[in-house]
């Protein structure tokens, strides 16, 4: 017999912690959600680097040429690609959230489809940027 005092502790559901992300099998919308957060955090962390690049591009013709040389290094290109991916994912997923806020596509199946649509838009655009950056196009 269990009284309220002796009954087992009720389960507690918290936010998924960063360290638990890998272990979770998230539905597509959940994956879009956590990647929205990660891409936002990445853009925040890289903000000074982006501002610095913007500064170099504007100071003078000399700094502009310096930037072009700097950006020709593969490691810098990889960094730029990370910024482009994060921006595209954050933008497209963000637009999806704005539609959800307007109660558009909140049904389970529609939300699932729009989550896939986020990848269908952001990933090919990222690939295009990658081809452009690494000189294939």
């Amino acid at each position: 017999m269990s009284s309220p005092l002796t009954s087992s502790k009720r389960p507690e559901f918290r936010n998924i912690h960063v360290t638990q992300i890998v272990g979770y099998r998230l539905p597509p919308s959940g994956l879009v959600s956590i990647m929205h957060r990660m891409s936002g955090a990445l853009l925040f962390l890289l903000l000074p680097w982006i501002l610095w690049l913007f500064d170099l591009s504007l100071i003078s013709e000399v700094s502009f040429a310096h930037l072009a040389r700097y950006a020709s290094h593969w490691l810098v290109k990889l960094g730029l690609l990370a910024v482009i991916w994060a921006f595209l994912h954050h933008l497209v997923a963000g637009l999806r959230y704005l539609l959800l806020d307007l109660h558009i596509g909140v049904e389970k199946e529609a939300a699932r489809r729009s989550a896939f649509a986020v990848y269908l838009i952001s990933l090919p655009l990222t690939l295009l940027a990658a081809l452009r950056l690494f000189g294939a196009v």
Binding site: R37, F44, L47, D55, L58, D101
Partner: protein
């Protein structure tokens, strides 16, 4: 950390304000990038001349700065959400929030300097 018997210090205002600000700033930033893309296509500014020429206009500086301020505010709301979700000790969370604000203020001042040097 509790203040009094009921209130918990969590750093949130429980309100509509940040929710709305996050969405309005998002729209401003998205609109700015559409505008920038069009401006670049129209002026064909792939060279330094064209690129710096575009940003030498006062209207371009003002529009860019408004978009950047929207971005910094947007970043503040978003990063604060991250601290509130994962960092539970009030002191550590408060410290990280203060650092975030200082960092974004630094970026904002830097952005003004970058734009008004062109």
């Amino acid at each position: 950390m509790a203040i009094g018997s009921k209130r918990l210090v969590v750093g949130a205002h429980y309100g509509l304000g940040n929710w709305l600000a996050q969405r309005i700033s998002a729209l401003l930033i998205a609109a700015y990038f559409v505008f920038l893309l069009i401006a670049l296509l129209v002026t064909r500014s792939a060279s330094y001349e064209g690129w710096a020429g575009l940003f030498s206009n006062l209207w371009m500086k003002v529009i860019t700065l408004v978009a950047l301020f929207a971005l910094f505010y947007h970043a503040w709301v978003g990063v604060r959400d991250i601290w509130m979700d994962y960092v539970k000790p009030t002191g550590v969370r408060l410290g990280l929030q203060v650092l975030t604000v200082l960092w974004l203020l630094f970026c904002a001042v830097w952005a003004v300097q970058i734009l008004w040097r062109v």
